[in-house]
Structures are given as structure tokens and as C-alpha cells.
């Protein structure tokens, strides 16, 4: 059974078509990453999927239950951590967990078993008596996750969970996802493409529509041109030189390297740069998800 299935999902706010015809299918025990620019409709889509917003048209089924008609059953099967997910700052870690367990009607013995395991996995066990307001950002986010998981949902929705989270906490967060992914389906939105690479499936969203949907490998393979990586001493200047001859969208800085997506070859690129006084090493690479993203989104916006 599919964890998430949508058909022709539409949602407008006044003149803005936030979600403009989305068909998605996510099998059980898969991780779906939703990426796209600000205002693409990611948060609205997630809110439609979890049933806190009603679509203008279309439907959502969660583990076979209609998100609206069969709301009670659907709600019991999902966990949802929104960007504004709030803990009770004056309650301790343990009190927060107990509060959310009571909301979800989890029996005390089950609750304590699960809480123990989750606290262990998130390394929050030493802090159960600390008020949530006194936790670091990364710890709060992990406590939010525990509270979201306490009723053992079958589908977990996370709206930009790693925003502003430091690399250590982010790594711990993805370790938790790795442990969960064999049991439950996860839908996660993120602005970070290196995180999207860790998902089973990725949906690129822009202007309320899904521009592309598939495994990270499939999205990379969907690029219609080869990608070249250039090592140069002054990448910013080299990119400017290349951008004058090739189209500007085709030339992208990747830190201290330059990527060119286009039907060219290593000799042509090396010669172009040499003419402007740049020595370079050029090689063809397997495109990254970010290469695919930049090309698909800039085309979609045109």
C-alpha cells in the first residue's frame, strides 16, 4: 500500500496558485525529499498532505485513508513536524514527551518503552529533566522529533527540519532518519540538496508544480547534457569568462570549482579559459543533484 497518494491536488490563496496540480505517489518505507525555491509551494503541499489544509480540488490518501473524509484514521497514522512546531518551553523534556503521548493516547508502558529508545537514539537521555526552553536548537529539534514519533506513525512529515541546525546536529538527525527508514515512510522538505541526495526519491517543486520526480540517480540522469568540472586558481573570474561565451545558466560555481553543463568538450573549455589567461584542469563528472536542480528550475522559471 502507498504511504502517500495524491491526485490533481490544487490549492490557491486569492490569486496565488500555491499548489497547482500535484500528483505524487510514495510507497511505504521510502523517504521522499521535496526541494524547490522559496515560494514554490512546499509548505502548502505538506499542509495539504497532512490534512491541516483542505485542497480546492483533488484528493490525498495516507496509507489508503482519505486525508479528509477519513480524517481520524489518517491522523492516527501520521506524524507532522511543521517549521513552527512548538514545544512547551517551561516543561521538561520528559514532560513534553508525556504531554504529546497523552494527546496521541499512547498507553504509559508503551510510551516509556518508546521514549527510552528514542531518547537513547537522539542522545537526549541525560537531559530528561531539563526544561525544553533551556535546550540548544539542535536538541529542541530532536525533542520535537521524539514527540512527533511517540505514537509510532507510519508516515512522517517534516517541513525543513534542519533549517539553521549545525552540521553535528544535522548529521545526528539524518542518522535517526536512517534508523527510521526501514520501518516508516518519510516526507521531508529541505533547501539543502546534499540532504535531498540521501532520500530514496526527490521531487523538485517550482511554481506550485512538481517539475521532476524520481530517485536522485534518475534526476541526475535526466540532465540532457554532460557536466564538466573545472579546477582553476580563480574560479569566480573563470566562471565569468565562460558565462560570456556559453549561456550564463550553464556555468555554475561549486565553491572552488566551476561546473559547466553543455554540449562541449574538455579541449574547448580549456582553450576558452587559456585565451583569458586561466590554466585549468577539466574533467567530465557525474552530475550532482544540484546540477540537475539548477538546470531544471531555471528552465522552469523561464
Amino acid at each position: 500500500m502507498d504511504a502517500v497518494l495524491t491526485e490533481g491536488l490544487h490549492k490557491s490563496f486569492g490569486e496565488v496558485h500555491a499548489v497547482a496540480g500535484v500528483d505524487l505517489r510514495l510507497p511505504a518505507r521510502q523517504v521522499l525529499g521535496i526541494v524547490g525555491p522559496d515560494g514554490a509551494g512546499k509548505t502548502t503541499l505538506i499542509r495539504l498532505l497532512v490534512g491541516v489544509l483542505a485542497p480546492d480540488r483533488g484528493r490525498v490518501a495516507l496509507m489508503g485513508h482519505d486525508a479528509l473524509a477519513d480524517r481520524a484514521a489518517a491522523r492516527g497514522l501520521i506524524g507532522y513536524m511543521s517549521q513552527a512546531f512548538s514545544l512547551y518551553e517551561d516543561l521538561t523534556v520528559q514532560e513534553n514527551i508525556r504531554f504529546f503521548a497523552r494527546l496521541r493516547k499512547v498507553p504509559a508502558t508503551l510510551r516509556d518503552q518508546r521514549a527510552g529508545r528514542l531518547l537513547e537514539a537522539t542522545r537526549l537521555a541525560p537531559f530528561i529533566h531539563r526544561p525544553a526552553g533551556k535546550l540548544s536548537g539542535g536538541m529542541k529539534q530532536k525533542l520535537g522529533l521524539i514527540c512527533t514519533l511517540i505514537h509510532e506513525p507510519k508516515v512522517l512529515f517534516l517541513d525543513e527540519p534542519t533549517n539553521g541546525v549545525d552540521p553535528v546536529s544535522r548529521r545526528e538527525f539524518w542518522e535517526i532518519v536512517d534508523e527510521l527508514r526501514s520501518d516508516i515512510a518519510i516526507v521531508v522538505s529541505t533547501p539543502a540538496l546534499e540532504e535531498a541526495e540521501r532520500c530514496d526519491q526527490v521531487a523538485l517543486m517550482s511554481g506550485g508544480k512538481i517539475l521532476a520526480h524520481g530517485t536522485p540517480d534518475a534526476l541526475r540522469a535526466s540532465l540532457d547534457v554532460p557536466v564538466w568540472e573545472l579546477e582553476v586558481a580563480r574560479p569566480f573570474q573563470a566562471a565569468a569568462v565562460l558565462g560570456q561565451t556559453l549561456s550564463e545558466d550553464a556555468v555554475q560555481l561549486f565553491g572552488d570549482r566551476v561546473h559547466v553543463a553543455g554540449d562541449t568538450d574538455a579541449e574547448a573549455l580549456t582553450a576558452l579559459l587559456a585565451a583569458a589567461g586561466h590554466q585549468s584542469v577539466v574533467r567530465r563528472i557525474e552530475p550532482s543533484l544540484e546540477d540537475a536542480y539548477v538546470r531544471l528550475i531555471t528552465r522552469g522559471q523561464r
Partner: protein, 301 residues
């Protein structure tokens, strides 16, 4: 410490009671470069920036910013630097133009320079035709560029950016970094903290900080090369649990349908591939992996 550097410090230290937030930090940042300052939350990054900006007095040690001693002449430092905080300090209920004029006054931009600086800010942000737009209605990526431009109104020699791209989408981040490279080209020195290690690769020098101390320093390429022992591999196929159990695999995490792993020994890759019926290809470490290793937090076990 040398006055011809954009920024330098010697044994810069800040204590809060018993807690040593910044511990004997030595910095050397060349003019016209981008310097990345990385660490987990609580590593001491923001405390360091606040000292360098003259907002917080050091407990001991010294720092020069654009040749000025921050401990002795903090007010003079403030005139030479631009600072963009994590939360963009813009007035959402003012228009774009009103924000620009307000901050120009705050930063004491001379009247006769005002017209040029305003034009610069508007062209940098591409907001020429939206001067009357309420700032609160701008998308995050544009707001971020406006916050940056406002920090540049008084033509600072050194620009401090504290996690400038948190929550900003990939294309806006790219546009933002193109701007940073332009500023560098014009001679501005940029000192930036970020949680995105892929962004840190834009920096000329990167410093890893942990518990108030520097635990790594160098250009990203050199840091990656220095940490490359040939033991990191990409595995295609196979089962996660079986690979996780294998003693030859020290760390492993899922990357979509593949795995990233660190091996006990590079020479065991072929045997591992044979035993599990998988493809094992060596890969270079990412800067994020290098960073986590430097602060003693290897990737997922």
C-alpha cells in the same frame, strides 16, 4: 599581528565566569579574501565575531581589524566594518527605500555620498523598480540581499556575515555567493560563518573551531586533500544491515540508493566488493566529512 592584514588576532580569549568561550585564538586574514569560520553551535563563533566587531571586550589577547585595535578603539572599528546578523535586521514595516535611508543615517553615510550609495544598493539587489515595496513582503532571498546591501552602505573594508544563508533556497544562495565574490573582487574582506559546508568551499581559507579553539585551518582544497586517505568509498547495491555489520566498514550512511562508507583499510575495498556483491568506488571526502572528523565527530556509525 600585522597591520597590513585585514584582520589578525593573537591569543584572543573570552571568558564568561568559568566558561572559556574563546580560547587563545590566533587569526590571520589577508585583505581581499573570503575567510570561512566554521563550528558547531556553542563553538565560540558568535563570541569571536562580537569581539572582532568591537561589541564585546576580550578578556585577554589582542585583535586588529583593518589595522585598528578592537580592545582599545572599538568605536573606530565599527566604522570600518559591515555586519550582517543571522536575523536580517531590516524593518519589515518600512519600504525598501526607507530602510536604505534609515540605515544610511545610522551608519553616518555623508549626505553627498548618499545618492551613489543608494544607487549601489539598489543595483546590487536588483530592487530599482521596487523602492516603494514594503520590505516585509519581499521573498527571503531578496530580503537577504537587501540586508547585505544595507551592511555595505558605509563602504566597510571588512564585512562580517553570521550565517547569512540559513533557510535560503539553493538558487538564491548561488546569487548571494556571486555577490560575495564580486565584493571580494573589489577588495572587500569577507569573514563568514555558515552551517553549510558546501558554501564554505567558496572561501579562500577555512577555520574549524571547537570549544573555543581552532582545530583546522587551510584552503578547502588543501583540507580535503589532507583528509583523503583513500578510505572513503561509495557503495552501490548490497544491504545496509549486512554492510553495517561488516568489521571492515567503520562508518556508513545511506545516500539514496547508494551508501557512503569509511573503510578500516583502503586495500580491503576489493574483498568487500566481492563478499557483498557490490560496487565499491573510492571517493574524496567532502568538506563536511573533513569538518566532522576534525572536531572528533566522524560520520554515522
Amino acid at each position: 599581528m600585522t597591520a597590513d592584514l585585514a584582520l589578525s588576532s593573537e591569543a584572543l580569549t573570552k571568558r564568561f565566569g568559568d566558561f572559556v568561550a574563546v580560547d587563545q585564538l590566533d587569526l590571520r586574514v589577508e585583505r581581499g579574501t573570503i575567510f570561512g569560520f566554521l563550528g558547531a553551535n556553542g563553538a565560540g563563533k558568535t563570541t569571536t565575531i562580537r569581539m572582532l566587531c568591537g561589541l564585546l571586550a576580550p578578556t585577554s589577547g589582542e585583535a586588529l581589524v583593518d589595522g585598528v585595535d578592537v580592545g582599545r578603539r572599538p568605536e573606530e572599528v565599527k566604522a570600518r566594518i559591515g555586519y550582517m546578523a543571522q536575523k536580517f535586521a531590516l524593518y519589515n514595516d518600512l519600504t525598501v527605500d526607507e530602510n536604505i535611508r534609515f540605515f544610511a543615517d545610522v551608519y553616518l553615510v555623508p549626505r553627498k555620498k548618499m545618492r551613489d550609495r543608494r544607487a549601489f544598493v539598489l543595483s546590487t539587489t536588483g530592487l530599482e523598480d521596487r523602492v516603494k515595496t514594503l520590505t516585509g513582503t519581499l521573498p527571503a532571498g531578496i530580503k537577504q540581499r537587501l540586508a547585505l546591501a544595507v551592511a555595505l552602505l558605509h563602504e566597510p573594508r571588512v564585512l562580517f556575515l553570521d550565517e547569512p544563508t540559513a533557510g535560503v533556497d539553493p538558487l538564491s544562495r548561488r546569487a548571494f555567493w556571486r555577490l560575495i565574490h564580486q565584493l571580494k573582487d573589489q577588495g572587500t574582506t569577507v569573514f563568514v560563518t555558515t552551517h553549510h559546508l558546501d558554501e564554505a568551499e567558496n572561501c579562500d581559507q577555512v577555520l574549524f573551531m571547537q570549544a573555543g579553539r581552532a582545530v583546522g585551518l587551510g584552503p578547502p582544497r588543501a583540507l580535503r586533500a589532507g583528509a583523503d586517505r583513500g578510505d572513503r568509498v561509495r557503495i552501490t547495491g548490497g544491504s545496509g544491515p549486512a554492510l553495517r555489520e561488516d568489521p571492515r566498514v567503520l562508518e556508513i550512511y545511506a545516500m539514496g540508493s547508494r551508501w557512503h562508507a569509511r573503510l578500516r583499510h583502503p586495500a580491503e575495498a576489493a574483498a568487500l566488493a566481492r563478499d557483498h556483491g557490490v560496487e565499491v568506488l573510492p571517493v574524496s571526502p567532502t568538506l563536511e566529512e573533513v569538518f566532522l572528523e576534525a572536531i572528533g565527530e566522524g560520520a554515522g556509525r
